[in-house]
Symmetry: none
Subunit: 274 residues, 4 copies
């Protein structure tokens, strides 16, 4: 199983510092041993509007030079622009869909096979059926755009942060509603922990529809330092023949972290149990 | 002294939920008794690109109808777009300056006398002198734009989140460097706490250059529930003849809050000591 | 990389007890295995005014007899005399400079290649530019005195205790301002932790200007017992070709410690990762 | 009963910041309502060697102008110079006695009736009888010098910090050994707490030999915020006809305090129970 590392902890999102240029991050993760990098579309790394064609090529060259793949990409939700696909504000919904398309373009240019999808959240006054309609429509439009580029979309339940697609059943219902072959599911062990769900339950229930996984322990600590049972999780992934990446999404929720330390500890622990 | 309340805790920034439409927030704060509202430029409230001319007028009518002023406005830093005026990425710096101008326009339309300025942060590899040059240039350009609309700019040291303008001296040096009559200073008791600084020291040192204040206790709790000495702070403000607002910026750092409860507790405590 | 141990925890500064004569401390550290000792200029060890020529020779003989080097020396700031080089009180500034010169003399007599420099702190009412002028002038005078004896000066950012030279950029700016070839930088992992800075960032930014390092974990615990990432730090030091000492400055902030235990645990951990 | 406030928390000893000029401290304490100030002989306030005749007069004028008395003075032990009257190092013992005489001179000039005496501490290798001999000799010499100026000496057991004069019996034995009419005792509720002693026991045992008191709660918090029973203490003082000051010695053990807040809270609580 291949290991990937998400860039938030090295970026200005959501915590401003510490923050490193993307070239530095790619080189550090390659040196630690990661097979791939998950690039979040946030400054100073990869906010699409800031990336000229030359800059996109430069990053591509650094990736190739280090021999590290891009496992996946995702927008940064919750800043000024929100990017809530279930917002009651129509301009925000349009901007969110537009952002997903721009990140899909980056996936194409940097060779990432998978785009992650956060299904939005309900603002006070918006009923659940209405919010589900909006996120379903958004996902359908994004999935079709991604399909044209040969890219898969993985829907992530985000119970710790949101109130719309929060459970394994929620994500299955949304996949069924949108019904596109390039739409699958993912989950994050930090979010399953928030709802006291068992990660391997997700694996067995989703089976081949599982396209991606985020690993993080309580308080976004590296795997192995907290309470999540990664040994059972790995076993379940082998049982269903999972072929995707194990991606660490850790440490980004606070300022007092050393990103390299996060990356190194997670890598060492995962290698020790694989 | 007049009391104001910042909207983050009611918005999708930086925590996605709970989140309320701006009309709701205005009405709730007016009912609790606040003299004014500080509107953060984030979805679903006031991200400038999402606000049509009609929508801007609607909000103006709600404000007028409730008899509540807008004390101040500010962009939302740290999302995907970053808006770091000291970023090594030139497109990000330009976008940040553009965002401050758009928020200045909103200040004009909604009658806010003050725009808050966050001076950015250093990304690894950017030296302090370079970062200071960038933030000084950005502030000068923004201040001139604001001056044309009769709006003041208040620079905020943000030590808990950043690494550039972190102290009272830092903000004085930046004001001196930019040297514009409509540029003043502000401070936030949450940030002074992070550096173990004494709030009244800021007041005495800044004197008439002090234009705005954010009140928050440890962990962004309401004033009166933590460790900050608000009695000494109020005394120092009276000593220097402060005429601005006392603005609560609280509760927005976590999901498990009830925004109205935050607003009500802060209001009650401040009224009890004024 | 060579290991050294600072004497504060064995001295009467700043905590009065436990306290040991300097001969005892030298012998104990040599026996544990340290390559060197960092001698703080405090009673009952090495307050310069108390040391007769004979006493200085006696200590030299003990050092030679044990085969242990003196890595570095430093004054004890913050007692009655303060020794704040940025004090608004001119006699205090003069006394501080005088103290640094006396410690330089001790460096010569005991063979220490490096004098550590604490850049002082701002007393209320002293602006940052004035404080920086004072510390720059003091450092220049001290550096010239030290240069005549072939001794280097390492400037230490002390964010946990002070409010003047607190960050990597601050120390770079001060080195640039004083512009002497025998002036370099150092940092202490306890202070970087206070500001949530990443130690290896200091190493990469300072490169050959890095002359000394203090190791201590949260609450001045020995390395390996807390949260600091020493593996990344050692890696970065190898990357830049660091040739100085790794000096433990631990346990001195409280009474309930056993100094030998501190020294032994730090030594064992560092040896295990080198 | 009259209230006084010790200056450490406003000084650079032992924690460097926050720090205020002595004029500021005198004015702030007078405004809060204190009858007197206890001035510690530390920078930037009152390190004797730094005070010119003019400066001493200036301070005297500020004191007179504010109508506030000086209740007492004391040296700052434990910095580089140590000032341990029981040190095995003869030059340190001499310097300590000299320092007490210099502070006695300041008492005369500023009208303080009482000099506080810390009896030192045992360094490893010094037996208790030897240490007691040294502190007795030092106290005798200092007391005679003070007597000539009409000043009393109050010996303070300091169990939390030292290992020589730690209990009520220890201080009685030292008073008896030195046998001078101008030598009395004091105690600090923070130190009695460290040894789980009852403050009113000290009062009843010492009776008329009690000359001074330091009030502080656990962790040097202001009286009223911790665990010490001040109501019983005040009762015992009335029972024995105590005529001295109640002096707050609080907040100085850490950086994250607001000195005015400390002073105000202690004052309000004491006034409420007197």
């Amino acid at each position: 199983m291949k290991l990937s590392f998400n860039t938030w902890v090295y970026s200005g999102f959501p915590v401003w510092v510490p923050s490193y240029p993307l070239e530095d991050v790619i080189k550090r993760l390659a040196r630690i041993g990661y097979d791939a990098i998950e690039i979040g579309a946030a400054a100073p790394h990869a906010f699409p509007d800031y990336l000229s064609p030359q800059r996109r090529q430069e990053i591509r060259h650094v990736l190739d030079g280090e021999g590290i793949a891009v496992s996946s990409m995702l927008p940064a939700p919750g800043g000024g622009a929100g990017y809530n696909v279930a917002s009651p504000d129509a301009p925000e919904r349009s901007a969110a869909i537009e952002m997903y398309k721009k990140v899909t373009d980056l996936c194409s240019e940097w060779g990432a096979p998978t785009l992650l999808y956060v299904a939005g959240w309900q603002v006070f006054g918006t009923g659940r059926p209405q919010a589900l309609d909006w996120t379903t429509a958004a996902l359908a439009e994004i999935a079709d755009y991604a399909a044209a580029a040969g890219i898969s979309v993985a829907v992530e339940p985000t119970s710790a942060d949101s109130n719309l697609i929060d459970s394994c059943d929620d994500v299955i219902a949304l996949m069924d509603a949108v019904n596109r072959p390039n739409v699958g599911a993912m989950f994050d062990t930090y979010h399953t922990l928030y709802r006291n769900e068992v990660p391997s339950d997700y694996v067995y229930r989703l089976g081949k529809r599982l396209r991606h996984i985020h690993l993080a322990d309580a308080n976004r600590e590296p795997p192995g330092s907290g309470v999540v049972d990664y040994v059972s999780l790995i076993q379940s992934l082998r049982d269903v023949g999972y072929e995707g990446y194990l991606t660490m999404e850790i440490g980004f929720n606070r300022r007092n972290v050393e990103p390299d330390d996060m990356a190194r500890r997670a890598y060492a622990y995962l290698r020790s149990i694989l």
